[in-house]
Point group: C2
Chain length 295, copies 2
C-alpha cells in the first residue's frame, strides 16, 4: 500500500466514526437516515483529511481538527445531495450507489441537505472549548460559510448551470471551478490552520494558495479522468462531460497540455509548503495523490 | 392605524433596508437576484420583529438585534423557497407573487435557498464586535442552527411530508408545528435575549415558553384562516388544507374550540412576560397581533 493510501485508509477509520457519531446524536427517522446514507456512502474524505493535514502542518498536536473536519464533510455531502437533484445535474449514481433522491425521494433529499448545512455549523459552535476557543470557532464558521455561500460554492454551481451548452474560455472555467470546488478546498486548509490559535498570516496565505492550486489540479485531473477512465473505476458515468458538452480543460488545451498543466499546478502547490511550523508530510502526500489518482 | 400595525410598519422600513444591504453586499448575478427577490417579496417580518422586541424586553438599547434579525429572516426565507419547490409543496404563489422557482427556475431556487442559509450564519459571525461579543455570536449561531436543523425546522418539514394523507392526533400535529414553525419563533426570542450579554436563565426560559405558545397560536390561527379567509386576503390559495386533507386544529377540535384554544394560548403567552428587565410592550403587541390577524 502506498503512503497516501495508508494515510487515507487510517484517516477514514477514525474520521468516519466521529462523522457517524455526530449524525447519530441527532436521533433517528427517515430524514436522518437520508443524511446518514449520503454521509456514509463514502468517498475519499479529501476535504476533512486536508483539515487534519493542515492542522499538522501548523503544529497542532491534539484533535481540535476533528469537528471542523466533520463539518466540512457535511457541507460537501449536502452539496453533492443537492447537486444530484433532478433540477440540477439529475444524477442517479454517486460513488457507484443510488443518489440520495433516488433512494429517499426528492423532498427528503432537499431537506437532508438543508439539515446537514445547519448541523455542520452547530457542530463547530458546540465544539469542546478546550479544543477550540470562541475566536477559533468563529474563524472556522466564517471560513466555511463564506466558502460555501454566495461568494463561493453555490455561486460556482450557479455559474456552472449557466455555462451549460456554452463554450467557456480558460479564465471562465478556472473561475467556475475556483468557486464551485476550489473555495471549499481552500476553506479546508484555512480551517486546519485555524486549529492553531496563533497561526501567522504568512502561513495562512501560503495555505490558501496551496488549496487553490491543488483544487484546480483536482479539477483538471477530474476532466482528464472523464476521458481516460471507466465508469466502473470512477463510480459515475465516464464520458459525461463530453455527452453534456461541458467546457473542460482537455477540451480547451488538449489532453496532453492539460496533463502538463496539472503537473505545473502540483509543483506550484509544493512551493507553498516551505517554511511551515509543523509537519507538512501529509499535505505533500495529498498534493501528490491529487495528481496521481485514477478515480 | 393600530399600535401593532404602526410597530410593524416602522420596523419594516428600518429592517428591510438592512436586509437588502446585506444581500447586495454579496454582489450581483442571477443567483443573488433570486435570493433578493424572495427576501424582498415581503411578508410581515414577524421573526425579525420578535428578535428586536425580545431585545427590548431584556433592556437592550442599541442595534445589536439587527444582524440576528436579518439572519433569522434569511433562514425563514430559504425555508419558504425550498418548501415551495415542486418536490415539496409545489406552490406557484407566495404572498401573492410567483414563488422563487416559478420566477427563476428550480435549480436557482435550490441554490438561492442554500446560499441564504450560509449567508445568515456568516452575517452573525462577521457582525460588529462592539455590538455582539464572540460568546454572543456563538449563542446566536447555536440557537439559529439548532432551531432550523434536524431537531427543529427541517425535522418538522419531514414530519409534515410524512403526515400527508394521514390523520394525525392533537399531540402529533402539535409536535409537527412545534418543530416546523415553533422552533424558529422560539429561536427569534432567544436571539433577541442573547443580545443582552448577561440575560438570566429565568428570562430565557420564560422567553422560550412565550415563543412556544405564540408559535402554536400562530399555527392554530393559520388553520382557522385557511377556512375563514379568502385567497386575495391570504395571498395564497384559501382552502388548501382541506384540499390536501391536512390534519389541522379546526379539523380535530372543531372551529369554535380551535378559536378558544388560540385565545387560551394567547393568555398563557402573556403570563410569560411578567418580570422582564426591559420593555415588553412590543412582545405583547405581537402576541395580540398573532391572535387578531386576518392574513
Amino acid at each position: 500500500m502506498s503512503n497516501i493510501a495508508q494515510i487515507i485508509d487510517q484517516f477514514k477509520q477514525e474520521f468516519e466514526l466521529a462523522l457517524a457519531q455526530e449524525i447519530k446524536s441527532e436521533g433517528s427517522g427517515s430524514l436522518l437516515n437520508a443524511a446518514h446514507y449520503s454521509l456514509m456512502v463514502g468517498g475519499k474524505r479529501i476535504r476533512p483529511l486536508l483539515v487534519k493535514a493542515a492542522a499538522q502542518a501548523v503544529g497542532v498536536n491534539n484533535t481540535s481538527w476533528l469537528i471542523p473536519a466533520v463539518a466540512i464533510e457535511m457541507i460537501h455531502t449536502y452539496s453533492l445531495i443537492h447537486d444530484d437533484l433532478p433540477a440540477m445535474d439529475d444524477d442517479d449514481l454517486r460513488r457507484g450507489q443510488a443518489t440520495c433522491h433516488r433512494q429517499f425521494g426528492e423532498a427528503l433529499a432537499i431537506l437532508a441537505g438543508d439539515g446537514l448545512q445547519m448541523k455542520a455549523i452547530s457542530c463547530i459552535a458546540e465544539a469542546d472549548r478546550n479544543l477550540l476557543s470562541d475566536v477559533q470557532k468563529l474563524q472556522q464558521i466564517s471560513s466555511l460559510t463564506k466558502a460555501s455561500g454566495f461568494s463561493g460554492m453555490v455561486a460556482g454551481q450557479a455559474l456552472d448551470l449557466d455555462a451549460e451548452g456554452k463554450v467557456l474560455g480558460l479564465d471562465e472555467i478556472t473561475n467556475v471551478h475556483a468557486k464551485k470546488t476550489g473555495a471549499l478546498i481552500v476553506s479546508a486548509i484555512e480551517m486546519g490552520c485555524y486549529c492553531q490559535p496563533n497561526v501567522s498570516e504568512d502561513v495562512l496565505d501560503k495555505g490558501r494558495k496551496f488549496g487553490q492550486t491543488i483544487g484546480l489540479a483536482f479539477q483538471v485531473i477530474d476532466d482528464i479522468l472523464d476521458i481516460e477512465s471507466s465508469t466502473e473505476v470512477l463510480g459515475k458515468p465516464q464520458g459525461a462531460d463530453i455527452e453534456h458538452k461541458k467546457s473542460t480543460f482537455p477540451a480547451l488545451m488538449g489532453l496532453a497540455e492539460a496533463k502538463v498543466y496539472a503537473q505545473k499546478l502540483y509543483m506550484e502547490s509544493l512551493e507553498q509548503l516551505k517554511g511551515w511550523p509543523g509537519d507538512t508530510t501529509a499535505l505533500k502526500s495529498i498534493a501528490e495523490f491529487v495528481l496521481s489518482r485514477n478515480h
